[in-house]
Symmetry: C2
Subunit: 468 residues, 2 copies
């Protein structure tokens, strides 16, 4: 017998899974739309050219590429002409939702508003080694605001994402905020040469995984001066002690960002240090703008937050909860990326919510509403005998007009067997429409939980009879 499992690293979603996913996605959509974000969908498959070179070497390795079609391919193959896999493929599965967004912004420039706010909730594919919570097909929930450099955009995004988490029932999350130019200033003060800063950020970003010691070692190994490494690890250590105290509150965040100690003489003319102070001002604005939003008591300014991706240019964010290693969500400003398919730079800020991780934690914490996964129908209409089938179907339709979800048992089985089936599906009520009921124009309604049964006049039947 053939293998009936889904492909490696991919998942089937049975009805109760789909309901949970749709519940979460529904809340995400509703909140984003209340902020004026609009839905965008792009094809699963992109031209290979569109994706190539956008994700680095790892991305190239993990991309699912699609085989060329047609006789020519077969002929070239059989003649041994093809010796490189790049000649075999012209299309690939979408690797993220950001590159397609950049393509769309370039392609429909004249059809999109100047400040384009879009959300996109679709699967992406990566041929990664599957592990707990890591799949080869998984959903990304991206939200991006294109076209403005104002911190209003950061504030609105942070506030929207926090509102989503609260509406899902999360209370204990922290949104850590930093700015690439703060990191730049810190590295400048630690006298790390400009060309070594990107790799330094990648190492700092591993703090969660390898700890402070690990970072120190890797920084040394990366050929930085001992003095620089000491300065950086000292800075991180400071942040860590702050992180352990109660620092996600409004006044405290403002206080950190208002420190006005002037830089040492030697940095007086440094561009990096000017940007550092300007970044502090940006973050102060974000904190102030979110004062009256869902984000207020969740923000923690964390100057050690690095974020691995190289394309961020401004504020960066990451959302964590205590019982998850890794983040629930992350994002930041990336003013260079969206313009990659066009002629001009386009400012942009984005957030990506980790749907699979949110679902994982909500499952573990039992955060889903009970009625979500309870059953597939509010009531099941039984079938008395072959002759009354039409009447049962008619009754089912009347009940559906009352906005009830109605199952009809599909065969004229014994009534006891039909009850048992409804009960096995956790359906709370069954309707019985026998010859007596038909003659009297009544319906018998049986509550399968209590065993109680009542006869109701057919034309008085309403939704209320089926509320358990």
């Amino acid at each position: 017998m053939s293998n009936t499992n889904p492909a490696r690293g991919m998942r089937d979603f049975l009805p109760s899974d789909v309901r949970k996913r749709n519940y979460v996605i529904g809340i995400i959509k509703k909140v984003y739309e209340s902020y004026g974000f609009e839905p965008l969908e792009t094809p699963s498959v992109e031209n290979l050219d569109t994706l190539t070179g956008k994700y680095g070497e790892e991305g190239n390795q993990l991309m699912f590429k699609i085989l060329k079609r047609g006789e020519k391919l077969q002929q070239e193959l059989s003649e041994g002409k093809i010796t490189n896999e790049n000649e075999l493929s012209d299309l690939a599965l979408r690797y993220d939702l950001t590159v397609p967004l950049a393509r769309v912004v370039a392609n429909y420039k004249n059809d999109l508003p100047k400040f384009f706010k879009r959300y996109q909730i679709q699967p992406v594919w990566r041929a990664d080694r599957p592990a707990r919570g890591r799949y080869r097909e998984f959903y990304q929930c991206d939200v991006d605001a294109i076209g403005s450099g104002s911190m209003i955009v950061e504030a609105e995004l942070i506030s929207a994402v926090c509102e989503i988490l609260q509406k899902l029932g999360f209370k204990d999350f922290t949104i850590r905020i930093n700015h690439r130019d703060i990191l730049g200033g810190i590295m400048e003060m630690a006298k790390i040469p400009k060309e070594k800063r990107p790799q330094t950020l990648v190492i700092i970003d591993k703090l969660d995984k390898i700890g402070l010691n690990g970072i120190g070692k890797e920084l040394l190994a990366s050929d930085l001066e001992e003095e620089s490494v000491r300065a950086i690890t000292h800075q991180i250590e400071n942040q860590m002690s702050l992180s352990n105290s109660e620092t996600n509150n409004y006044e405290y965040n403002l206080q950190i960002l208002s420190e006005t100690s002037s830089p040492a003489e030697e940095f007086a003319d440094s561009e990096s240090i000017k940007s550092y102070w300007s970044a502090k001002k940006d973050l102060r604005q974000i904190v102030e703008y979110t004062k009256n939003t869902a984000a207020r008591n969740h923000i923690k300014i964390d100057e050690s937050l690095a974020r691995g991706l190289s394309y961020y240019t401004g504020a960066i964010f990451e959302i964590n909860v205590s019982d998850l290693a890794g983040s629930l969500s992350g994002g930041g400003r990336y003013d260079g990326l969206i313009g990659m398919f066009g002629k001009e730079q386009v400012p942009a800020v984005g957030f990506s919510l980790g749907l699979e991780r949110i679902l994982l934690i909500m499952d573990e914490r039992k955060m889903f509403p009970d009625d979500l996964t309870a059953n597939s129908a509010d009531v099941m209409v039984t079938v008395w005998n072959e002759e009354t089938i039409g009447e049962s179907l008619k009754l089912a339709n009347e009940l559906r007009q009352q906005n009830l979800r109605v199952l009809v048992y599909p065969e004229a089985d014994k009534l006891g067997k039909q009850f048992k089936y409804a009960d096995s599906l956790n359906i709370p009520f069954v309707c019985i429409l026998g010859e007596n009921e038909l003659a009297e124009n009544k319906i018998a309604i049986k509550n399968l939980k209590t065993g109680e049964q009542e006869n109701v006049e057919r034309d008085k039947l309403s939704r209320e009879h089926f509320l358990s």
Copy 2:
């Protein structure tokens, strides 16, 4: 500059497109759920083995296959060891939703209810030549009821699909119904040998495209006896004259199906003829069971309806509207297919709604509600100056609590420019929060359509102020 179009035959859906698609999908889901159908989702990518050999030669050609990954592939290629494309691929994109359903039914047998009713609305991929209304990535909306041979299932499915079309605003559709065993009986009476019947059905299915003459020619060319061809075309001609009259009404359908003329002596022992009469009884039941449903005045029994797919075993359906060549939807009973991955046969009936075609016609006929595509927000909050940004964001949040979709203009531009932007997005109202309004704890609300402006006490602000 690089190509920013989506891949050939694929489409980007901008916000107004997504809203239309979600509107239709929302109605489809709601109706299916009211019938107790449950949502299922399967991965876009399946093992190649799962799909191979299920769709015939054409399907094999049109499948998007995914290139194997890793160094081994590259090495084998560079050594010229791979001479056949089948060695290059281990995965493929889903070609339809039926084979994945069959796989799921076999894989989760013990987790699924005995009568499994599922709907699935997901994209499928076919490397077909793109044309008007034909894409390489398109959605299928499938609904299937697994596990019962009763005509209750057919009746419920037909009724659900008709209810969906009515809720979408279609009034003039016809659902043609036939039965594979009626076609079998007709072919038996026309003395067509059993082995030639499948190809005969494929030819009959072309009626819409090549007309009666074309069918006659193709049947002769397919090596049938002249007498058989005459008998079949005569039968189709009869049906065509019926089709041109008003035949989609309840009594008329029953009358056709109740004809009790007994078959000629020579067929007295024929299994095909016994099945023919039994099929007529099946269809009579379907007509009777749907008497009190949305389907009632849309059904037309049409004994020339063939449906191209070879896997149907019982009743078959097709839904047509006058301004579309081809069908909006089709389906039927296929008792052999679902069991293909398991040990036992599993009875099943299914329908597939053509989402892309429904959208096409609804667009042409302007059937979408106006407010669906009107705008992305109910109101835009303007920004008075840099200092009042926090207040504008606070107001936006208050308005969102009133269930309004609220855009915040992201920069402290001139007010006139902000109004113009809101108007360009068709947003009916803007809120102004200047120094005077802040001092008086009021909001100015401007209706951009009428130009009227009113001042409202901040704490009396409600949803009602923004209904145009």
